[in-house]
Symmetry: C2
Subunit: 275 residues, 2 copies
């Protein structure tokens, strides 16, 4: 099947580690292209570059966001830093042309490997949080109309928020700094390691639950992928515990439908300007 | 005063963002140069490069470790990716010459700024953990003789471990995956933002407390610095909650002597090979 995410992250090799892409306006949220989607475009270029080695899966990706990504043509430059038998380390950057010349959008360092070749043993992991069944969580339709208008992205995410952490939708944030819920892609595309790069930046910022709504630009996001997710909806939890110096960290955990922790991430973001 | 860390991180500008350094063998632990010290050498080159802009302090640093750093000459290449009024984003790489030519040791992406110019408000933070007073914690002398012999680094760290998390020193790890304690530099050098890059990688791996001793090579480490630490010993906590796929994450929190959370970090490391 031809899924929206696969169309959106498509890249075309242009030689010497360069890949051409088309940033799809359907992944805009609040006026900007979703960071997780931009990361997935870049991540797909890395995966394509490393396909001959078999190291197609992200294990660790650290992204620094330099300027806002725009819908339209983009180029990803992938540079291999170290090739090993078990994993490859790369640097990759997404660039878009502006009138004055090419501008870097986001730049990353990453370790890629073959997740199927990694040890399967789970010695310990953060357990699934308590949350209501999917059908008792809130559909994305609960977002205010003015939010939905500027955020076509929301139609692509079949998010179901835990009502206990969705108070921000009715003006009553809990104050806990937690937002969690169930997550699928609306068109049913299975969640694979590439999609996890989208999933870790898919929920509203945890600051919404602190009564601090508004755009929270990401300075840095590091995602660690531990395993290929099993089919079915994932559970995603965002939490912020440190809000200081005009910044907050947002920790994210993703469990697959079997309850296995398949990814975690942390981002450092700026508090909304309204403060 | 001429402190060991300042001598160890000294860099000399060679033009065009290049800095020459001398990696000091006194920071070796278990046969390899301590990753936090190597990161501080690189971080000092960034700080020196950005001094004219006033953005001398690390805010976020993501390091990917490529090959083991060796005592001896090194070069750090610093490249500015984005200059802003409030912060500067850079890429920086440490290189050492081998017989076959220059080899990259660690490479980083980083945001630097002036911590004194950042908002001082603390809206929430992870509170200091419970731990005994410094004088009731274990001096580094408690490490086994064979560990101390290969680890001159330990003499530079005035670590005092919480006995509840130091069971690994007597063959009785607690199983909680936590190691915490008090930390100062032995020669009394104050802990500043640069030193925090050392502090976040100074304690033994949290896996020691799970009964998994041995060298745990870091793939990736991201540190966030929130504030300039107040004078006095810091409290440092390492914890791992996800040990799977042959890897573990190690979260680290650093509180200054006033109890303020001044830094946190997460690293993804490989489980010791003995497994």
């Amino acid at each position: 099947m031809d899924y929206e995410l696969d169309r959106g992250v498509r890249v075309q090799a242009a030689g010497s580690g360069q890949y051409l892409a088309e940033v799809d306006g359907g992944w805009v949220v609040g006026g900007g292209v979703n960071g997780g989607y931009a990361l997935a475009v870049l991540g797909n270029a890395i995966s394509t570059e490393l396909a001959p080695s078999g190291h197609r899966d992200p294990v660790s990706v650290s992204a620094y966001f330099l300027t806002p990504t725009r819908p339209g043509p983009a180029r990803v430059d992938v540079r291999v830093l170290r090739r090993g038998g078990r994993r490859t380390t790369v640097a990759a950057t997404m660039v878009q042309d502006e009138d004055a010349g090419p501008v870097e959008r986001l730049t990353t360092l990453a370790v890629y490997a073959d997740l199927d070749a990694m040890p399967t043993e789970v010695l310990r992991e953060v357990p699934l949080p308590d949350l209501p069944a999917l059908e008792d969580c809130l559909p994305p339709g609960a977002a205010p109309e003015e939010v939905r208008r500027t955020s076509p992205l929301l139609d692509r995410f079949a998010t179901r928020l835990d009502p206990a952490t969705a108070g921000f939708t009715t003006g009553s944030p809990s104050g806990a700094g937690v937002i969690q819920g169930w997550f699928s892609l609306t068109d049913g595309r299975p969640l694979d390691p590439l999609a996890l790069l989208v999933v870790v930046d898919a929920l509203p910022p945890a600051t919404f639950d602190l009564g601090l709504p508004g755009w929270a630009p990401t300075l840095e996001l590091t995602a660690h992928v531990r395993a290929r997710p099993a089919p079915g909806p994932a559970v995603v939890r965002h939490e912020t515990r440190n809000v200081s110096a005009g910044q907050f960290e947002e920790d994210c955990w993703v469990w697959d439908a079997t309850g296995r922790l398949v990814a975690q991430s942390r981002q450092l973001a700026l508090l909304p300007r309204s403060r």
